[in-house]
Symmetry: C2
Subunit: 231 residues, 2 copies
């Protein structure tokens, strides 16, 4: 986790960065339909966010809307994709070619959003020399040499929980600058390293809990249908 001092230097707030891809997806849809302009009010209505929030979010991006017509769609798509880093390929190594790691190597969609995973590493000798969708898998001992040659900036961490911290320390020592952590372990990093946690299991936990609560709530109504409940 970046510490507080680091956090203060971020120019763009994280909630803004998380909303911008929603806007991009919607605006790309409009582009596909042949539309020319979009207003922040339109985006706001679609995404279910305040229109002043949309305007504020877009103020971080280098684009100006025209009065009455709004933003020019082609420009907005290009500028957003560029701003979000989706137009540059960021070289990444993946650590831990288990079930989730192998799945991520399969997902060619990531490279369309700027993440170019160029190799996977694992401690299991039997995986060394194999490849997944053309991406080579090496034994972890080959990582320092690969890093010297290829100079990846991002490490995707999909190792078992008990190896998460040691792998983190190892890859940072070889010059990896940002970590995409898929493990449910809270890794610790020096302040000059970026961490993005994506805990799929935490998302599952939230979904299961909401589902259970709705189920229990519905059981309190005779017909078992949420729509039958007194409004």
């Amino acid at each position: 986790m970046a510490n507080d001092e680091i956090k203060q230097i971020w120019k763009v707030p994280e909630p803004t960065l998380r909303r911008l891809p929603w806007y991009l997806a919607f605006v790309k849809l409009l582009k596909g339909k042949g539309e020319a302009y979009v207003s922040s009010t339109q985006i706001a209505k679609e995404i279910n966010v305040d229109s002043s929030q949309v305007a504020k979010d877009l103020s971080f991006v280098n684009i100006t809307g025209k009065t009455r017509v709004g933003y020019e769609i082609n420009t907005l798509v290009a500028v957003l994709e560029d701003f979000l880093g989706f137009t540059i390929q960021h070289k990444a190594f993946l650590f831990g070619v288990g079930s989730l790691g192998a799945a991520l190597l399969q997902d060619s969609g990531l490279s369309q959003y700027g993440l170019d995973i160029i190799a996977g590493f694992d401690t299991r000798r039997e995986l060394a020399g194999t490849s997944i969708k053309g991406i080579p898998v090496f034994h972890i001992s080959e990582f320092p040499a690969c890093q010297k040659e290829l100079n990846a900036t991002i490490g995707v961490i999909t190792v078992p929980v008990d190896q998460a911290q040691s792998v983190t320390d190892h890859i940072i020592s070889e010059g990896i600058k940002a970590l995409w952590n898929f493990t449910p372990f809270r890794i610790r990093v020096p302040r000059h390293v970026v961490v993005q946690n994506t805990s799929m299991y935490a998302h599952l936990a939230v979904m299961f809990n909401r589902l259970n609560q709705l189920n229990r709530r519905n059981e309190n109504y005779s017909c078992g249908n949420e729509l039958c409940k007194p409004q």
Copy 2:
């Protein structure tokens, strides 16, 4: 998105639900090391959260710590796994067997956390009749019949953005109660349906932005090393 009225009925706050899996991962590590007890202070220190917050989070779970020694680890692991819904298999269908969808079908790890994807659906006829890791893929037209027979509660959405809303409407009409949305599209659902958004691309955007800012910041110091900067 659940609307405000629905949100008020959630007994457990989302941030709590997102932190609990971090605690679980850490406590499981301690269990593996043969430890017997853990205090909220220990968890707090490891996860980098206030210890009062840890105690508050754990107050939602049915477990009581003992003064001085803390929580009994075996019980805490069992109670947390149960509370988070990881011990029950939730039947799910996956919609959109593209790159990401196929990758998720490959990830057997999900079933260890309670998500049992029992079939995939796609509009492409050539995929019908195939299977991935033993999970059958059907044409989308077969979904209503499959749903009547198997009664899945969760829909995993990995379709292209322009199909996200129509697929959402279709699967809700057949009785799916919760949606795990991997598309960058903000789907709209009736208030009795749960939505969990997992936008991998939004996470990439945050990581790329932080990385770029650190790079730019470092360029302002002659040695290019964050550690050389004046403190």
